[in-house]
């Protein structure tokens, strides 16, 4: 735990964190890592996001894939819950909808391992504050 005591400290910390993250998704960086985010808001959990998250964690480890699985809030595609976002270093993040453990298996084997296209991708349909 770091107690932040000035705006300068805060800005420095933010820059450090940003650098870490971009390093993580930089293909050229040997420490880069595959990131999986699972939407874990009420809707997601109710549709079975928790077992999907557990499955992803266990299976990626079992299959020796260097990956970081984290939870996040609602991705707002409620109709397609559970939803997950997969970021492979050097590639744009991809959101998958209606993810069951079976689907998760397919995503690991085909998308993450082989880089094949997998059905169920939800196109991002919004702009962010950074792009606008």
């Amino acid at each position: 735990m770091t107690r932040i005591t000035s705006l300068k400290d805060l800005q420095r910390l933010r820059d450090d964190l940003k650098a870490q993250t971009s390093a993580r998704s930089d293909k050229a960086n040997p420490d880069s890592i595959i990131q999986v985010k699972v939407a874990m808001a009420t809707c997601g959990i109710a549709s079975g996001a928790r077992p999907v998250m557990d499955y992803m964690k266990e299976e990626l480890e079992k299959r020796n894939i260097h990956a970081l699985v984290t939870q996040t809030g609602c991705m707002c595609y409620c109709y397609a819950e559970p939803t997950i976002e997969v970021t492979i270093p050097g590639k744009e993040p991809v959101v998958f909808g209606f993810v069951t453990t079976k689907k998760a298996d397919e995503i690991i084997e085909r998308y993450i391992r082989k880089g094949e296209t997998v059905e169920g991708i939800i196109a991002r349909d919004y702009e962010t504050i950074d792009s606008k």
């Binding site: 910390l13 707002c76 109709y79 397609a80 939803t83 702009e127 504050i129 606008k132």
Partner: protein
């Protein structure tokens, strides 16, 4: 093609891990607070919010900056800022999503608000029905205190601010500021007459600034990116974006955030992907129980506070429910009135008794007993309730009735004059009939009728006694020959 949505309030939802403050900080979290505390006077910070044109996202649409300024100007030894997270509109869940996905943005905005208004204490009034949001908010509050964004001497500036949680307990009326304040004081959530406004005399009779979750979620971005940026989005009088909870008979149910001025058509057909199963659009209900039902001809209206009111509905907190031909509009109005009757606090007579009478009139009409006079009564009573009720709940509760009367009068007319419900929702107006031509007398329907309303000889056409029929539809479901139809 440019994308229709722009996520400001939802910027971090589905992006960061809400339980890790580092991820919030990485995305410029608490930078706005730092900037305000270090570089701006309260007046200057309020000026930014004012100029941005941000208006209350809970439904009222009051200028947020102005509200802050009023609270700042009142002299008092103690002031409070309150986050209204009692999202009570059925069909709206953006506040829950923000709190579950990005709780720090609300904490940061409340602290900014505290600095601007001179309050050292914040309260979050949150629905007890949102356990996950409460949990995440608590984690975020703990982290914010540990990291020095809450507590004493925040960011070394000498500013102190802390937040407490108060729980709602299932009362829609507590979305109203004064009722909410009474509820936080441990009283019945009854509203009181305004003025005095909470900005002058609120929680424990101290100046209190109340904003809802979505409003707060916009604040840090406005500080970071500047008011000019925010004011460049939206329409002339409604700036920025609005989050809508798209639900009902629509393909892509979910949360969307669009710039003010986007049309209903764009929202429903482009972002929402149109109606399910190719159904025909009939109505869209906006503004929750206080709003109204809009129809086809309203689809090209650019959404903002004023346009929706002009069309007979309102922004409300952003519920948007799409309906198709299977929805009976009289029944929809009745559904909303039933809600209002249950949620009225009972303090003022027009809301307590008037809404009950409105509901009874609608029950009478959907029950097949409506008279032409009842339609006049509905209209007159609605106007008096709006004109005389004490708080926002009663002042808007007849909106679903008035808007459906205006936009779907034909359906009311059919219920009253023709005794018909075109959507086959009102059971009392339905009649199951056996087509003697098609019936072969298999007796299956008669055997499945729970009330023995069907008679007939084997191999001869059967008959349904309309007096006995309870309109359960079992016969129609069982008939293999399509001989039973609804009139």
């Amino acid at each position: 093609m440019a994308k229709k949505q722009l996520r400001i309030a939802l910027r971090n939802c589905g992006v960061i891990d809400p339980e890790r403050i580092e991820e919030y900080i990485e995305r410029d979290g608490y930078l706005a607070l730092g900037k305000v505390l270090t570089e701006l006077s309260p007046e200057a910070a309020i000026e930014i919010i004012k100029k941005s044109g941000l208006r209350g996202r809970g439904g009222g649409g009051f200028s947020t900056g102005l509200k802050w300024d009023i609270t700042r100007r009142v002299k008092a030894d103690q002031k409070y800022v309150v986050c209204n997270a009692d999202e009570g509109d059925p069909g709206a869940f953006m506040d829950r999503s923000v709190l579950e996905g990005d709780p720090h943005s609300v904490i940061e905005a409340m602290a900014i608000n505290g600095y601007c208004t001179g309050a050292s204490k914040g309260l979050v009034y949150i629905r007890a029905e949102y356990p996950l949001a409460i949990e995440r908010l608590k984690i975020a509050m703990k982290q914010a205190s540990e990291w020095g964004f809450l507590g004493t001497n925040i960011l070394g500036t000498g500013f102190n601010f802390e937040i407490e949680i108060r729980y709602g307990a299932g009362a829609f009326v507590c979305g109203e500021e004064t009722a909410l304040i009474h509820s936080m004081e441990g009283l019945r959530g009854e509203p009181t007459v305004k003025p005095p406004f909470p900005s002058e005399s609120g929680y424990l009779e101290k100046p209190t600034n109340v904003n809802n979750v979505e409003t707060y979620a916009n604040v840090p971005v406005i500080i970071n990116k500047g008011w000019e940026w925010f004011a460049g989005i939206g329409t002339e009088k409604s700036k920025g974006t609005k989050v809508f909870a798209l639900a009902g008979k629509i393909n892509k149910v979910g949360l969307i955030e669009v710039p003010m001025g986007t049309t209903l058509r764009e929202v429903i057909f482009e972002i929402g992907g149109g109606l399910q199963d190719g159904a025909t659009f009939k109505a869209v209900q906006t503004g929750g129980p206080s709003g109204g039902c809009l129809m086809e001809k309203h689809l090209d209206i650019p959404i903002d506070y004023d346009n929706l009111i002009a069309a007979g509905s309102m922004m409300g907190s952003g519920g948007m429910i799409v309906m198709d031909d299977a929805n009976c509009m009289v029944s929809i109005a009745k559904f909303y009135l039933e809600f209002t009757v249950e949620e009225s606090c009972g303090k003022c007579s027009p809301c307590r008794i008037g809404n009950k009478r409105l509901f009874e009139l609608l029950e009478k009409i959907t029950g097949g007993n409506g008279t032409p006079e009842d339609l006049d009564k509905l209209r007159n009573l609605s106007h008096v309730i709006k004109d005389t009720s004490l708080c926002g709940l009663g002042q808007t509760s007849p909106n679903p009735v008035l808007s459906t009367l205006e936009n779907f009068y034909e359906e009311y007319r059919e219920h009253v004059f023709d005794k018909k419900c075109r959507s086959s929702v009102c059971k009392s107006l339905m009649m199951y009939i056996i087509d003697a031509e098609k019936c072969i007398g298999c007796t299956l329907c008669a055997r499945n009728c729970p009330v023995n309303a069907i008679t007939g000889e084997r191999k001869l056409a059967h008959y349904i006694d309309p007096e006995k029929c309870i309109k359960c539809g079992a016969c129609m479901e069982k008939c293999k020959f399509g001989a039973i139809f609804i009139n």
